[in-house]
């Protein structure tokens, strides 16, 4: 009788254990499933939101990159425009210097043409003085040798200047100058000198025409701008 009770007690014990255990097990399982089911919509919703946000982020980042690119190109354009402007200003300055609207200074040469000091009695004096054609020769030679600016006795020569003989003096743009004539030219000293001294060149011609020629290099020649 005692052992019978013990066996019953054992079976009851096992039964109780199994009952509560399975009860707990199913409860926890239900909880889990319920939770996940409840969370599912929320989870889905949040995920959707996250995806939307990330999409938006990506879009905005793309936009940002595009804008940065645009800014860069615009800056580049600005820099290019500035460069072009600078070039144009430089060019304008150079041109102004060339046509005489600005004063010019620099190294160059000075050619002095004077009438021959010795005139034989039997010859005509006209053969021994400096004529406008001599000056033309020198000026043309200087220009073709690359002179930037030329002046005669301090009077600057422009593109439309006139040099002509008026009796014993030479008129340059209406101003008369007596001999000797100092023709100053700004440019590459070596080139100017060499081109003047070419064989059968300008200087040789002048000497044959009984003109006294003195050629010297000068530095820091100043020429003023046109006065008008």
């Amino acid at each position: 009788m005692k052992s019978r009770k013990l066996i019953f007690a054992f079976v009851f014990f096992v039964l109780g254990f199994l009952l509560t255990f399975s009860y707990q097990y199913t409860k926890s399982k239900n909880e889990v499933t319920q939770l996940s089911e409840k969370d599912w919509e929320q989870d889905y919703y949040y995920r959707q939101q996250l995806i939307e946000l990330e999409d938006k982020n990506k879009q905005l980042r793309n936009e940002l990159a595009n804008i940065r690119q645009e800014i860069q190109t615009q800056e580049q354009e600005l820099a290019n425009e500035a460069d072009v402007l600078k070039d144009l200003v430089d060019q304008k300055l150079n041109l102004q210097k060339l046509v005489g609207e600005l004063s010019v200074s620099g190294d160059g040469v000075a050619v002095t043409l004077s009438d021959s000091s010795y005139i034989p009695e039997e010859e005509h004096a006209n053969q021994y003085i400096v004529h406008d054609r001599h000056i033309h020769q020198v000026v043309n030679e200087l220009y073709s040798a690359g002179a930037k600016a030329i002046a005669i006795n301090g009077q600057r020569i422009y593109r439309h200047s006139s040099i002509s003989c008026v009796g014993p003096v030479i008129s340059i743009d209406g101003n008369n100058f007596p001999a000797p004539f100092v023709i100053t030219a700004i440019g590459d000293q070596h080139t100017l000198e060499v081109s003047l001294n070419l064989q059968n060149g300008v200087v040789d011609n002048l000497v044959q025409d009984n003109v006294e020629v003195k050629l010297e290099k000068k530095s820091n020649i100043e020429m003023l701008a046109r006065e008008t």
Binding site: V11, L15, F17, L19, S22
Partner: protein, 115 residues
């Protein structure tokens, strides 16, 4: 009758205290174990009331039933067929039969006492 009740309470408490989570595939075995325990219990009570109680039959029946049910469930899992349903069905039918017999026996006893 105090000892079985005490052990039942003990088992319940122990079941509450154990916090083991078992994998889903063993849930079938758990249900079968519960049914086997119930079946054995009611079988034992019925035998008691019929004065045919045999300890050896009781104990061996408990373990043999449980192991057979577990084997069926295992086979079912292996074959992909819900064979554990057969065990559940058998246990359920026997449970109701036992309960009916216990009820009749108790009613007869009650009548007998009344007379």
């Amino acid at each position: 009758m105090w000892l079985p009740a005490l052990f039942l309470v003990l088992g319940l408490i122990l079941g509450f205290l154990t916090n083991i989570t078992i994998p889903d595939i063993y849930a079938n075995y758990l249900s079968i174990a519960v049914l086997a325990a119930l079946d054995t219990l009611f079988g034992g009570i019925r035998a008691q009331l019929e004065d045919k109680f045999d300890q050896k039959v009781f104990i061996t029946g408990f373990f043999f039933n449980v192991s057979l049910a577990a084997f069926l469930a295992f086979l079912g899992v292996q074959l992909g067929i819900d064979l554990y349903l057969a065990a559940i069905f058998a246990f359920g039918v026997r449970l109701f039969q036992n309960l009916a017999i216990i009820r009749r026996l108790l009613l007869e006893k009650y009548r007998f006492i009344k007379k």
